[in-house]
Symmetry: C2
C-alpha cells in the first residue's frame, strides 16, 4: 500500500508543545502584554434590527482613563468577508454603519488604561436607534413582505448553490421505494476553551502588528489591511498559541479591526479579550438548517437518486455561510453511489448572530439528515442498515456527483470493521430492554480546492532550513489551533530528512516571517496541503545534500541515497555514509556559505473544485434510554475510519475523542436558545456540553489506505468524525425505544414526549 | 565617478525608527517583560586575583523568593571567546571556576522573583578566596617573576602580532631625519546610553531564546550554544532596539549565559539588566596602550620607514584584544606611503577588567601616536604639517603594507579641503594668544576580511521579498545599534527597486528568522557588506520582474529595464512600463503563486586579510588654552573626509558629530582611573564625558569618491572619524602654547604642569 513508510510516520509521539501547555507556560494572546498597553471593549447592539440615528460618544470620551472611542463613521467603512472571490458576498463592516442587524452587532469600540474603565465607558455612549421589524427564522425571513436585512437581497436569500447530476426524474421513476423526510438541526457553538483575544501594536511607518487568536492569519492580514486601507504587507498578523477554534476563528472579526485601528490612532498597543458571554451570546455558531431529503431505492436496496433541499439559517451576515451551503450539498452525495443527485442550498439571512464555519462545515447537518434517512429506509426495506450501506458504499475510483473521483476509499472496510468490533449482528438482533445500537457514517474532505479567498499564492507554502549542527528549522504559515498540526508537519519533515522531532525548530503563523501564503486551518486541509509543501521543501534540501555523497564515494549514477537515524547513506551500502550534520556541513562548505534553505509549496490542481482527497468512516453507538427520565446514555462507541496513513496515531485518537465529545453534545444536549434574537443560554451553566463523565468508553480502528495525493498517504482525520455520532445515537435510540427523531438535539424532554409520558 | 546614483542615495532621510525612539515607544531589552519572569543578579569578585577555595550558596538559596543560584561548578565550563578560529585564544568562562582575575569577575548568579530579592541574595553567598599577587600594568605583568594570570601564558603575553614589510634597516639607513617617540593612551569607556540587558526564555524542546542588547546576535548565538552545550540552532538570539554599543556589546557576556542557563534550569524567563556602575566599574573599555614609534624621513619630508612597537594592556582576558593588536599595526601604516614598515603588537594580561573593542578598534591609539609624531616631525623638518602629509599621502592604487591595494582614496582631496575650509595657512601662521590650530588624519577599514570568528556562512546575507502590493520586506541579520544601518540598508534596497523607504518593512537581527549569517556590527562593516548582500538580493528580484516587461511589450533583446518611482519601465521608452505592484502581481501570477523571494549574500574574497575598502579623512581643530586654569577649549572643528558615496548624508553627519564628541572626551577628559584593580570613577559624576555645551561648532565636507567594492560606491563612515580629533587637538595645543603631549588625556592638570604652573 504505502510505497515506503519511515518509522516516525504513524508513531504516537507526544506533541513537543504539550509540556508548555500543561504546565501553563505556553503563551496565548491574552497572556501577552506590552508597555503602555490599552484595553479595549465593544459596544454591541441591544436590538436585533434597527437603524442607527445618532451616536454620541462625548461622555465616554470624557471619562478619565479613556484614550479613544470609535464608531463606524470614523472607520474607512470597507466591507469584508472571506469570499473575496465574490466581492458581492462581502457584507460585513467592522463597526456598524447606519444599521444593526443582530443583538450583539458591534457599534462602537473604546480603549482605556484598564479594562474596567473601558467597560464603564460603554455605558456612557448614547446611541439612538430606530427599531426595525426583525425576522428570526428562515420562514419569517423568506415570507412575502419580510423586511430586508441587507438591501442587496430583498428576499433575504443571500446565496443559492445547486448541484445537478444525472437524470433525477428518471431515477425516481426507476425507484421501487421512495421516501422523503425533513430534518432540522439546531445552533450549537464551538465552545473552545480560549475566548477570542487580539492585541495590536503600532509598528514603524504606519504599520501595525496584530497578535490574535485565529486559525487564518493570512486571511486576517489581507482583510484587515483592506479594512484599514493599508497595503497588505503593512499589516503583520501573528498567531500565538490558540486554545481551540473549530471554525469559530476563521474570519476577520470586529475586535481584530478595532485593536489595530485604535492602536494606529492612539499610537499604543491595544488588547481586546472577549468574555465567555460574548462568545456564547454573540459569537459564531453552527448553522441551524432545515433539510428536506427525498431518496429512491430499488427493492434490493440500491439507491437510484436523491433530491436534497436545504435552508441554512445564516444569521445577519454571510460569514462562512456560502461555504457551508456549498459543502452541505457535497456531503449529501459523497458517501454512496448516486446515479442521480440534485441539491439546492439556500443561505438565508435572519436577525440573529451570524452562523459560520464549525467543525464539519455542513457535514454534521447533512449527515444527520442523510444517515438517519438511510436508517429509516433500511427499516422500511427490511435490510440491515450496515448491509444497505455496503450495497451502496462509494469505492476507490467512484465519482462523487459533480465533485471529483475518489482515489482512496476505505468505506467498505470501515463498515465491515465496525460491524465486527461492535458485535453488531448479535446486538442489533437482540437488544436489551431500553437498549439500542445504531450506525452513522461519514465522508469528509481533505482541504478545499475552490479558491473562495482568491489568493494569488500557493495554498500552502513553507521554508525548510538545514543547519550544520544537524538540526532543521521549519517555517510555515500553517496554524496549529490545538489540533496538533505543528507536530504532524514536523513528523513529515523528520520522516523525509531521517531525523527526530527534537531536531526541528518550528516557526509558524507569522505573516511577516513565515513564507506566503497559507489559507489557514479549516476543511481539514493542513496535513495534506501544508504537509505536501513540507515534503516539497524537504526534497529540495535533500537534493542539496545528495551530491556530497556522490562526490565523497564516487558513486555509480544508479545509486540512491537514504536518510535515516540522522545519517545520510548509500541505500545499497548503508555503511557508506555520514551524519546528516557532517553532510550538511560539507554541502554548506561546497556552497561557499550559502545557507541550505528551500521553499516548498502545494496547490491542488486539476482536482475538481471540492477537495483533493476524501476520507470515510463508520461509527456505531450503543445507548441505554431511561424511560422514566428520558435520558439517553451512550454506553459505548465503536469507530472504524479511513484517514489514509495516520501520521500520528495518538493525534488521530485525540481527534476521535474530541469528535465524539462534540458529536454527543450535538446529538443530545447542546443548543443555543434564541428568542427575539437574544441568545438566552450565554453561560456554561446554561449551555450544556458533555462533561468528562458523559464520555462513553470508545474503541476505534483506523482502516489504513494510501491516499496518492497525501503526504505519506495521509488524509483528513480531524473533522469527518464529528458527523456520524448524531445519526448513530439517533438510530440507537430508535432501535432502543422505537422513536424516530428528525430534529436535534434528542433531549430527555423530546424522548418523554415521544414516549407519551409528557404532552407533545 | 558613480556609474549611476539613484536620487535616494545620498539623500538626508530621517530614520523610519526615529519617531518611535524619540517618543519613547521603541522597545529596548529592559522594556520587555514576560509572564513569570525572574530577575537575575551577578556576584562579582571583590579581589583582582584570587583562587576560589569554596563557595557556599545555601543561605542565598534559602532566601524566600530566590529561585536559583548557580556558580561556575554548576555550568558546563566551556571556554569561549570571539576568536573561534584560534581556539587557544578562548580564555573566558561564563562564571569563574577556580580563579578570579579582576575585580568584577563574575562568580555566581542568582535569580529571584524581583530584583531586590536577587540583590539581597548576593550578600548571602559565602565565597572563600585565597588572595594571589596581582599585576596592574604591562610592566608589572611582563616583569620577571610576575604571577601568571592564565597558566597557558606564563609571561602574561597572550598574543603577538607582527607585520614586516620592506627593508626597515635600509629605510632607516637612508633616512635623513629619524625620530622616536613613546606615547601612552588611557582606558576610556563606550558610555552607551543603554546599559547591557538580557532576557532569556526557555523554548520548546530544551531550546532557549535570548533577547539581548548586542551588536553580534549571530556570534552570541554560536557561543551561547557552545557554552550551554546545545546545538547552535537550539539557541535563538533576538536583538531589540539597542541604545548604543560602540564595540562594547560585541561578545558573549556572562549575563547572557546566566540568563539562558537560569531560564533553562528554572523553566522561567530570566532578565538581567546592568547598572551604570556595573558598566563603568567592570565593563569593557578601550585598550590603554604604550606605543613606541620610530620614523625616518628624507630631508624633503618623504617617509622612509616606520617601526611601531605597541603594548596593549588587555586586562584579565583576551576579549577582542587580538583584533585590536592586529588592527593597531595596520593603522600605523595605512595613511602614508611606507617603503618599509615593521610592527610588533603584544597583548598583555593584567588583573583589570578586560579591554576590548571600542569604536576605532586600535585606530584612536595608533593614530594619536602616529599623527602626533607626524606633527612633531613636521615641526622638526620645518615643513607645514599638511604639506608634509600631502607629500606622503596614500593614493588610489597604493598598497597598504602587507594589507591590500587601495581602490579609492580621497585623502589628498581631504587634506586640501580641510586646509581651505579652516583657513589653515593664515591661522597656522598667525595664531592668537593661547590659540592654536592643529591637524590629525585617519584612515579606516570598511569591515574585516580576516575570519576570526570562523563562520561557515557568508559574512552578510539577506532576504528580500517583493509583494504584489508594491511593498517589499527586507530580512537581515545586520544589527542596527543606533548607528542607523537599518535606514541605510533600506535606502540601498529602495534605490535598487526604485521605491520609497516607506514601502519597505525591515526585520533584523533574529537568528531564528533572518537568514544566516551576519557577523554583526563592528569594524564599520555593515554598509558595505550587508549593503552588498541587499544589492545582490534586489538584483535577483529584478531578474524575476524583467521578463514581465519583455513579454508584455515584446521587447528587442537589447533593451534594458529601469526601476524608479514605483514603476518598472523600458529605459529607452519610459512610457512603456507599469507600476511595480502590477509588475510584481504579473510575475507572481506567472510563477503560479511562488513568492518573489530572493537571498543575497556578500563575502569579501581575494582582498587580503584586513578590509575590502579604506576610507580617509583629515580634521583640523582650533583651540583656546586658558593658561590660568589649564583648560583647553576646542573652538571649532573642520573635517573633510572620504567615505565613498554617502548613502545618507544626514547619517554621515550624525556619525561625525558623535565621533567628535567621543574624540574630544578621549583627547581632553575621559579616563577610567584604576587603582589596585579597582575602577574608582564608576559614575557619570566622576567619569566625565563632554556635555552638549562642550561641543564645538563644526564644519564638514565629504569628499566623494567611488569605491568599486561598495554598494553605490559607499564605504565606512562610522568609526574612522573618531581618531583624528585627539591628535588634532593635541597639535592645536602644541601650536597654542608650545606644549607637546604624548599621553592622553590632556587634562588641565597636565597643561598647568606643562606650563610650569604646577609641580610636575
Amino acid at each position: 500500500m504505502s510505497e515506503r513508510k519511515p518509522p516516525i510516520i504513524g508513531a504516537s509521539l507526544p506533541r513537543p508543545d504539550a509540556r508548555d501547555k500543561v504546565t501553563g507556560r505556553a503563551l496565548y494572546t491574552d497572556d501577552l502584554t506590552l508597555p503602555g498597553m490599552l484595553h479595549g471593549t465593544l459596544l454591541r447592539s441591544p436590538l436585533p434590527h434597527a437603524r442607527i440615528r445618532r451616536i454620541d460618544v462625548s461622555r465616554a470620551r470624557a471619562l478619565p482613563g479613556v484614550k479613544d472611542v470609535v464608531v463606524g463613521a470614523d472607520t474607512p467603512k470597507v466591507r469584508y468577508g472571506n469570499w473575496r472571490l465574490v466581492p458581492d458576498s462581502q457584507d460585513e463592516l467592522p463597526l456598524a454603519v447606519d444599521k444593526v442587524r443582530f443583538v450583539g452587532d458591534e457599534v462602537a469600540a473604546v480603549c482605556a488604561i484598564d479594562r474596567e474603565t473601558a467597560e464603564r465607558a460603554l455605558d456612557l455612549i448614547d446611541v439612538e436607534y430606530e427599531d426595525l421589524p426583525a425576522v428570526f427564522t428562515v420562514d419569517e425571513a423568506m415570507a412575502d413582505g419580510a423586511p430586508a436585512i441587507h438591501d442587496e437581497h430583498p428576499d433575504n436569500v443571500s446565496l443559492k448553490r445547486e448541484i445537478v447530476y444525472g437524470d433525477l426524474d428518471a431515477a425516481f421513476a426507476r425507484a421501487e421505494y421512495v421516501r422523503e423526510d425533513v430534518f432540522t438541526t439546531q445552533a450549537v457553538q464551538h465552545a473552545y476553551l480560549e475566548p477570542c483575544a487580539s492585541l495590536a501594536a503600532p509598528d514603524e511607518g504606519g504599520r501595525v502588528t496584530l497578535w490574535t487568536s485565529t486559525q487564518v492569519p493570512y486571511i486576517v492580514q489581507c482583510l484587515l489591511a483592506s479594512t484599514l486601507g493599508l497595503p497588505e504587507n503593512h499589516v503583520r498578523v501573528i498567531k500565538p498559541n490558540v486554545g481551540g477554534a473549530f471554525g469559530g476563528k476563521m474570519e476577520l472579526r470586529p475586535w481584530e479591526f478595532c485593536a489595530a485601528f485604535l492602536a494606529l490612532r492612539t499610537g499604543r498597543p491595544v488588547k481586546f479579550t472577549l468574555s465567555r458571554r460574548d462568545e456564547l451570546a454573540f459569537g459564531r455558531r453552527r448553522h441551524p438548517m432545515r433539510l428536506r431529503s427525498r431518496i429512491g431505492f430499488t427493492k434490493d436496496g440500491r439507491i437510484t437518486g436523491r433530491e436534497f433541499d436545504v435552508l441554512l439559517d445564516g444569521g445577519a451576515y454571510n460569514a462562512m455561510g456560502p461555504t457551508a451551503a456549498f459543502l452541505c450539498g457535497n456531503f449529501g452525495g459523497m458517501l454512496y453511489r448516486f446515479p442521480a443527485y440534485r441539491y439546492l442550498g439556500r443561505h438565508v439571512y435572519t436577525n440573529k448572530p451570524p452562523a459560520s464555519a464549525m467543525r464539519g462545515f455542513g457535514a454534521p447537518q447533512a449527515l444527520f439528515a442523510c444517515e438517519t434517512q438511510m436508517n429509516l429506509a433500511a427499516e422500511a426495506l427490511g435490510i440491515d442498515p450496515i448491509e444497505l450501506r455496503l450495497r451502496n458504499a462509494m469505492q476507490t475510483g467512484d465519482e462523487i456527483p459533480g465533485v471529483a473521483t475518489i482515489r482512496s476509499c476505505g468505506f467498505t472496510d470501515s463498515l465491515r470493521k465496525v460491524r465486527e468490533m461492535s458485535d453488531w449482528d448479535r446486538k442489533r438482533k437482540t437488544p436489551g430492554r431500553g437498549r439500542g445500537i445504531g450506525i452513522g457514517c461519514y465522508s469528509f474532505i481533505s482541504g478545499g480546492v475552490f479558491n473562495w479567498f482568491d489568493t494569488k499564492y500557493n495554498f500552502a507554502t513553507c521554508e525548510v532550513r538545514l543547519f550544520e549542527d544537524g538540526t532543521a528549522h521549519l517555517l510555515t504559515m500553517a496554524s496549529d489551533i490545538g489540533q496538533g498540526s505543528d507536530t504532524v508537519l514536523r513528523q513529515i519533515l523528520a520522516a523525509e530528512l531521517g531525523i527526530g522531532l527534537e531536531k526541528i525548530r518550528l516557526t509558524a503563523a507569522d505573516t511577516a516571517v513565515t513564507p506566503k501564503a497559507d489559507l489557514g486551518t479549516w476543511g481539514s486541509r493542513v496535513t495534506l496541503m501544508a504537509g505536501n509543501a513540507v515534503l516539497d521543501a524537504a526534497r529540495k534540501i535533500k537534493a542539496m545534500l545528495i551530491p556530497v555523497l556522490f562526490a565523497e564515494y564516487d558513486l555509480n549514477q544508479i545509486h540512491d541515497i537514504g536518510f535515516a537515524d540522522d545519517r545520510v547513506f548509500v541505500k545499497a551500502k548503508p555503511a557508506r555514509g555520514m551524519s546528516l550534520a557532517e553532510c550538511a556541513y560539507k554541502a554548506l562548505r561546497a556552497r561557499r556559505g550559502e545557507p541550505l534553505t528551500a521553499f516548498g509549496a502545494y496547490t491542488p490542481r486539476n482536482m475538481g473544485l471540492v477537495s483533493p482527497a476524501f476520507s470515510f468512516g463508520a461509527q456505531v453507538a450503543e445507548v441505554a434510554v431511561d424511560e422514566e427520565t428520558g435520558l439517553v446514555k451512550v454506553e459505548r462507541m465503536h469507530t472504524a475510519h479511513d484517514c489514509g496513513t495516520p501520521i500520528n496515531e495518538m493525534a488521530v485518537e485525540g481527534q476521535l475523542e474530541g469528535s465524539i465529545h462534540m458529536g454527543l453534545g450535538y446529538a443530545l444536549m447542546e443548543e443555543l436558545k434564541v428568542e427575539g434574537g437574544v441568545t438566552l443560554n450565554d453561560t456554561f451553566l446554561d449551555y450544556k456540553i458533555p462533561a468528562a463523565e458523559d464520555m462513553p468508553p470508545s474503541a476505534s480502528v483506523t482502516v489504513e489506505t494510501w491516499e496518492p495525493e497525501g503526504p505519506f498517504g495521509a488524509k483528513e482525520a480531524g473533522e469527518g468524525l464529528v458527523s456520524p455520532t448524531a445519526p448513530a445515537v439517533c438510530e440507537a435510540v430508535h432501535h432502543a425505544v422505537g422513536l424516530c427523531f428528525t430534529d436535534l438535539p434528542i433531549t430527555p424532554l423530546k424522548v418523554l414526549r415521544g414516549l407519551g409520558k409528557l404532552p407533545g
